[in-house]
C-alpha cells in the first residue's frame, strides 16, 4: 500500500514540478527571447500588417498579445515594472493617458515625434499618435433622408430617438467618444446623454455589428467610427449596402477625431527595438500601410496621405479636444452608473 501511495505522490510531485518547469520556462522565455512584446489593442489585422512589415524590414521579432484599450491600460498599471509588454498600441487615446498618468511610459525619441504633427500627440512626448479615426453616424438610407438626420450627437438623447439607434457602449472606441463628450460638455451633460443612450439605443457588441444592424434594418442609425463602412465597401459591401455615412462636422462632439496611440513601457528590456518599432509605425513606410492597406484608418504622419477614398482629416471640422487629458476612469465610472456596462 505504501508503494502505491508513493506512486500517487510521485505522480503528484511530477505534476507539480512540471508546472514549475513550465512556469520557469515561460518567464525565462519572456525575459531572454529576442524581440519585443506588443500589447495590441488596435485591430488584430492592422497590428499584424504593421508587425509583419516591421519584422520584414528590421528582422526584429515581435510577439503580439491581443486585447482592448482599457483592459491593457489597467493591466499594465497592475503589472507595473514587471510588465511583459514593451510596446502598447491602442485604438484611442484615453488608455494612453491612463498609463502615462501612472508614469509608466518612457519618452519617445525626438526623431519619431518629429514625424507626427503636434495635434496628434501629447505635449509631454510620452507617447505618440499612430493613426486616427473619426466618429460618424451611419444610417439606413432606405429609412432616413438627410433632412431627418440628427444635427448633433446630443439630439440622440431625445425621446424622439427611442429605439431608433444603436451603439457599442462596451467597446473602447465608444468610451473614447464619451470621454470627448465629457471634456467638451461636462459631467452633467454627459450623464444626461448616457441616460438617453441607455433609454434609446440598442447596445451591440462591436462597431461592425452595429453597422450590420443598421444595414439589416434593425435600427435606423448608429454611432460608430468611419472605417468599418469603408472596410466593408472595399470587400463585398454586403454589410453596408443600405448604409449611408453622416459626418456631424461643426465641431460637434459627434465629429470627434480619436487618435490611436503608441507608447513604450519604461520597464522594457528592449528599449532600442521598441523605439525602432514606434519610429517605424509613424514613418513614411508605416503610414503607407494605413494608406494602402485595408484598415481605412487615417494616417497621421507628417506629409503622409490617407486612403484616397476617405474624406480628408482637415475637412472633418472636428471639435478641439485635448487628447492627453481624456478621462477614461471617469467614463467607465459614469457608464457603469448608467448601467451600460
Amino acid at each position: 500500500m505504501k508503494i502505491a501511495l508513493n506512486r500517487l505522490s510521485g505522480a503528484f510531485a511530477l505534476a507539480a514540478s512540471l508546472l514549475a518547469a513550465t512556469a520557469l520556462a515561460g518567464s525565462a522565455n519572456a525575459q531572454e527571447s529576442e524581440g519585443i512584446v506588443v500589447y495590441n489593442a488596435q485591430h488584430e489585422s492592422l497590428g499584424r500588417e504593421w508587425i509583419d512589415a516591421f519584422t520584414k524590414e528590421t528582422g526584429i521579432k515581435v510577439t503580439m498579445r491581443q486585447g482592448s484599450d482599457m483592459q491593457f491600460a489597467n493591466q499594465i498599471i497592475q503589472e507595473g515594472d514587471a510588465s511583459p509588454a514593451d510596446v502598447f498600441l491602442t485604438e484611442n487615446s484615453p488608455a494612453m493617458t491612463l498609463v502615462d498618468g501612472a508614469g509608466l511610459f518612457a519618452p519617445i525619441e525626438k526623431d519619431t515625434l518629429d514625424q507626427v504633427p503636434e495635434q496628434y500627440r501629447p505635449a509631454d512626448g510620452m507617447w505618440t499618435g499612430i493613426a486616427a479615426r473619426t466618429t460618424v453616424f451611419v444610417y439606413d438610407k432606405t429609412k432616413l433622408t438627410e433632412d431627418k438626420l440628427p444635427k448633433s450627437m446630443v439630439e440622440l438623447q431625445d425621446p424622439a430617438w427611442k429605439g431608433r439607434w444603436g451603439a457599442a457602449p462596451a467597446g473602447a472606441d465608444f468610451q473614447a467618444i464619451v470621454a470627448a463628450f465629457l471634456q467638451l460638455k461636462g459631467e452633467e451633460a454627459t450623464k444626461t446623454w448616457l441616460k438617453g443612450l441607455k433609454d434609446n439605443a440598442t447596445p451591440y457588441k462591436g462597431n461592425s455589428v452595429a453597422m450590420k444592424a443598421v444595414n439589416a434594418g434593425e435600427v435606423e442609425g448608429a454611432i460608430i467610427y468611419h472605417y468599418y463602412w469603408f472596410g466593408d465597401q472595399a470587400k463585398t459591401g454586403e454589410n453596408s449596402k443600405n448604409v449611408g455615412l453622416h459626418y456631424f462636422k461643426n465641431q460637434d462632439p459627434g465629429a470627434f477625431v480619436s487618435v490611436s496611440g503608441g507608447g513604450i513601457l519604461k520597464s522594457t528590456q528592449h528599449m532600442k527595438e521598441a523605439q525602432a518599432f514606434i519610429k517605424y509605425l509613424t514613418s513614411k513606410a508605416g503610414q503607407t500601410v494605413l494608406k494602402d492597406g485595408d484598415s481605412f484608418e487615417y494616417a497621421v504622419g507628417k506629409n503622409a496621405a490617407s486612403n484616397d477614398k476617405l474624406v480628408p482629416l482637415a475637412d472633418l471640422n472636428a471639435p478641439k479636444v485635448e487628447a492627453s487629458t481624456l478621462d477614461s476612469k471617469k467614463v467607465v465610472e459614469l457608464m457603469t452608473a448608467a448601467g451600460l456596462i
Binding site: 500517487l8 503528484f12 508546472l19 498579445r65 482599457m70 493591466q75 511583459p84 457603469t336 452608473a337
Partner: protein, 555 residues
C-alpha cells in the same frame, strides 16, 4: 444538545454528499444513471482496519488540490470584504445587475424545460420504440456535442444575421446543449426494469399514464443531473451569447474586464454569478428528491419491449431528421460555405500553429487534471468518510464555476502576489485543472471502483506485495478510466474560450481564441478553418464519450 449537534453535522455531511453527487452527475453525462455511486463502504472498511491511517499522504495531496479549488471563491470573498459594504451595495444592487438577473432567469427557465422535453422524447424514440435506424438517430443526437456552442451560434448568425436576444439565445442553447440531457436520459431508459411498467399496465393504466406515472419518475435523477449541467453551462457560456447578442453575467463580466481589467465591478458580477451557480446546485438537490426505485427479487431485468409506432413513425422519424438538420446541417453547411468562399487562402500557417498549440494545451491540461484528481478519486472509493466528502465537494464545486470567474481570480492573484507565474502556461494549466476536475473525477472514480479491493487482496494472498497488487491490478484496471478522464478534460480545454483569452501567455493562440478574434472582426471566412479544426478535434472525443456511455449502460 449533543443529539441536535450530531443531527446538524449529519445534515451537513448529507448536504455535501448531495452536492458531490449532483456535481458528479453534472459532468457525468455518460454515467448519470441515478445509481448511487458504486461504493461499497462495507468492503472498503473491511480492508482497512480502523485506527490505522495509511491514507494520510493521499489526504494531504487531495487537500492541496482542494485548497487550490477554493482559491477563486476565496478571492471573490476577499475582494468583497476589501472594497467594503458600501461599494458592494452600489456595484451589486444596481439596475444593470437586475437586468442581467432577469435575462438569466428567463434564459434558464425557458431553455431547460424545452431541452428536457426534447431529450426525453428523443431518448424514448431511440430506446423504446421500433423507430427504424434507431442507432443512427442515437448517434446523431450526440453528435452536436462535437460542435462548440459558439460555433453553433456562429453558424446561425451567419445564416440569419438578424438573430438576436432571448428567443435566439434559447433556440441555439437548446440545439447546442440538449445532448447533455439526451445522454443520461437514454442511458437511464436503457436500464429501466420493464416489469414495473408491466405491473402498472396490469393494474389498468393506459400507456400514457404508465409513462407519466412509472417511467418519467424513474428518469428524474437523469433529468435533474442533465438539467443541472445545462443550467450551469448557460451561466458560464460566453461566446454563444455574445454572437447572438444576448447579455448574461458572463458577457457583462468580460465587458467590464475589457473596460477596466480586474475592477471590483467585474469581481462583484463574478460574485453574483457564483451565487447563481450555488443556487442552481441547491435547487437541483431539492428537486431530485430522495426516493429510490429498486428491483426486488433475483435475476436481472429483461430488456424492455420496443413499442410499435404504427402510423406515428412518420412524425417520429421526422423529429430526429429535423433536429439533425438544425444541429449538424446548419453548422456544416455554413462552415462549408465559408470554407468554400475562402478557398485555400484562409488555410494560413496560423491555423496549423493554433492547432498544435491547442493539442499541446489540451493534452497537458488533460493529463494534469487527471493526475490532480487521482488522490481524491482514490480516496473517495477506498476510504469514504466525512473529511473525504468535504474534500470532494471542493473538487466538484469549482468545476461548476464559469471560466471567466476562475480566470479573473487567477489574473488578479498572479499579477498581485506571484508575478513569476503571471501569464505563464502554469497558470493557464491551473485554470484548466480547476475547471475540469469534476470531469476527470468521473472517469477515474468509476474505474477505480470497478477494480475491487478483493482482487488486490487475492493478489496479495498469492504472494504479491501490496504495492505490486495495486500496480498490477488496480492501476491497470483503472487505466482506461484515466484515459477517458484525460479525453474528457481535453475536450473541455479544446473548446474553452474565456479563461484562455484572459490567462494565456503572450503569443499563445488556441483554435478557440483565434476563431474568436476573427469573428469579432466579423471575418467569418477567416474564422471558418479554426471552427472546422475544433470540430475535427472534438469529433473523435465525442464519439468516444458515446461509446463509453453505452459501455456503462452495459451494452
Amino acid at each position: 444538545m449533543t443529539k441536535s449537534g450530531n443531527r446538524s453535522s449529519k445534515a451537513v455531511a448529507f448536504l455535501f454528499q448531495r452536492v458531490k453527487a449532483s456535481a458528479l452527475l453534472q459532468d457525468n453525462r455518460l454515467l448519470a444513471s441515478g445509481k448511487k455511486a458504486p461504493v461499497t463502504p462495507g468492503a472498503a472498511r473491511m480492508s482497512l482496519p480502523r485506527g490505522r491511517m495509511p491514507h494520510a499522504s493521499v489526504v494531504l495531496l487531495a487537500s492541496i488540490v482542494a485548497v487550490f479549488s477554493l482559491v477563486p471563491l476565496g478571492f471573490i470573498a476577499w475582494v468583497t470584504y476589501d472594497v467594503g459594504w458600501e461599494t458592494v451595495k452600489t456595484l451589486v444592487f444596481r439596475p444593470r445587475v437586475g437586468e442581467l438577473l432577469v435575462n438569466t432567469v428567463l434564459l434558464e427557465s425557458i431553455t431547460v424545460p424545452l431541452s428536457i422535453v426534447l431529450a426525453v422524447i428523443l431518448a424514448w424514440l431511440t430506446e423504446r420504440t421500433d423507430i427504424p435506424f434507431a442507432r443512427l438517430w442515437a448517434w446523431l443526437a450526440i453528435a452536436p456535442l462535437a460542435v462548440p456552442a459558439f460555433v453553433h451560434s456562429y453558424a446561425w448568425v451567419s445564416l440569419l444575421p438578424g438573430m438576436r436576444g432571448l428567443q435566439s439565445g434559447v433556440f441555439v442553447s437548446v440545439l447546442a446543449y440538449y445532448p447533455f440531457l439526451y445522454l443520461p436520459v437514454a442511458a437511464a431508459l436503457r436500464r429501466l426494469d420493464p416489469a414495473i411498467e408491466d405491473a402498472a399496465a396490469s393494474l389498468g393504466l393506459d400507456p400514457w399514464r404508465v409513462f407519466f406515472r412509472t417511467v418519467l419518475p424513474q428518469l428524474r435523477l437523469a433529468i435533474c443531473g442533465g438539467s443541472l449541467l445545462i443550467a450551469l453551462h448557460l451561466l458560464s457560456e460566453y461566446g454563444l451569447f455574445v454572437m447572438i447578442r444576448f447579455d448574461t453575467f458572463a458577457t457583462a463580466i468580460v465587458d467590464q474586464f475589457q473596460s477596466s481589467y480586474n475592477s471590483p465591478a467585474s469581481n462583484m458580477l463574478g460574485g453574483v454569478l457564483v451565487a447563481c451557480c450555488l443556487f442552481l446546485l441547491g435547487l437541483e438537490i431539492l428537486l431530485r428528491g430522495n426516493e429510490r426505485y429498486a428491483r426486488v427479487g433475483s435475476g436481472s431485468a429483461r430488456p424492455a419491449d420496443r413499442r410499435r409506432l404504427g402510423w406515428f413513425v412518420v412524425p417520429a422519424v421526422a423529429l430526429p431528421i429535423v433536429l439533425a438538420a438544425l444541429t449538424l446541417g446548419v453548422p456544416l453547411i455554413t462552415l462549408g460555405r465559408w470554407l468554400y468562399l475562402g478557398g485555400l487562402g484562409i488555410w494560413r500557417i496560423e491555423v496549423a500553429s493554433a492547432f498544435v498549440q491547442t493539442i499541446v494545451l489540451a493534452i497537458a491540461g488533460g493529463v494534469l487534471t487527471t493526475i490532480a484528481a487521482m488522490p481524491m478519486a482514490w480516496l473517495s472509493v477506498r476510504a469514504p468518510g466525512r473529511l473525504q466528502r468535504i474534500l470532494e465537494a471542493c473538487h466538484y464545486y469549482v468545476g461548476s464555476l464559469p471560466g471567466v470567474v476562475v480566470a479573473l481570480a487567477l489574473v488578479s492573484i498572479t499579477v498581485r502576489l506571484i508575478l513569476p507565474l503571471y501569464q505563464t502556461f502554469a497558470t493557464l494549466l491551473v485554470a484548466y485543472v480547476l475547471l475540469f476536475l469534476p470531469r476527470a473525477m468521473v472517469g477515474l472514480r468509476a474505474s477505480i471502483a470497478q477494480a475491487p479491493v478483493e482482487l488486490e487482496r487475492a493478489a496479495m494472498g498469492l504472494g504479491r506485495t501490496p504495492g505490486q497488487a495495486v500496480r498490477q491490478i488496480t492501476m491497470r484496471l483503472a487505466a482506461p478510466g484515466a484515459a477517458a478522464s484525460v479525453a474528457l478534460a481535453a475536450l473541455g480545454i479544446t473548446n474553452e474560450l474565456t479563461a484562455t483569452l484572459m490567462l494565456s501567455p503572450n503569443g499563445v493562440d488556441t483554435l478557440a481564441t483565434k476563431f474568436w478574434s476573427m469573428t469579432s472582426e466579423i471575418d467569418y471566412v477567416s474564422a471558418a478553418p479554426y471552427a472546422f479544426m475544433m470540430v475535427v478535434l472534438s469529433l473523435p472525443l465525442t464519439l468516444m464519450l458515446y461509446a463509453q456511455s453505452k459501455r456503462t449502460a452495459g451494452q
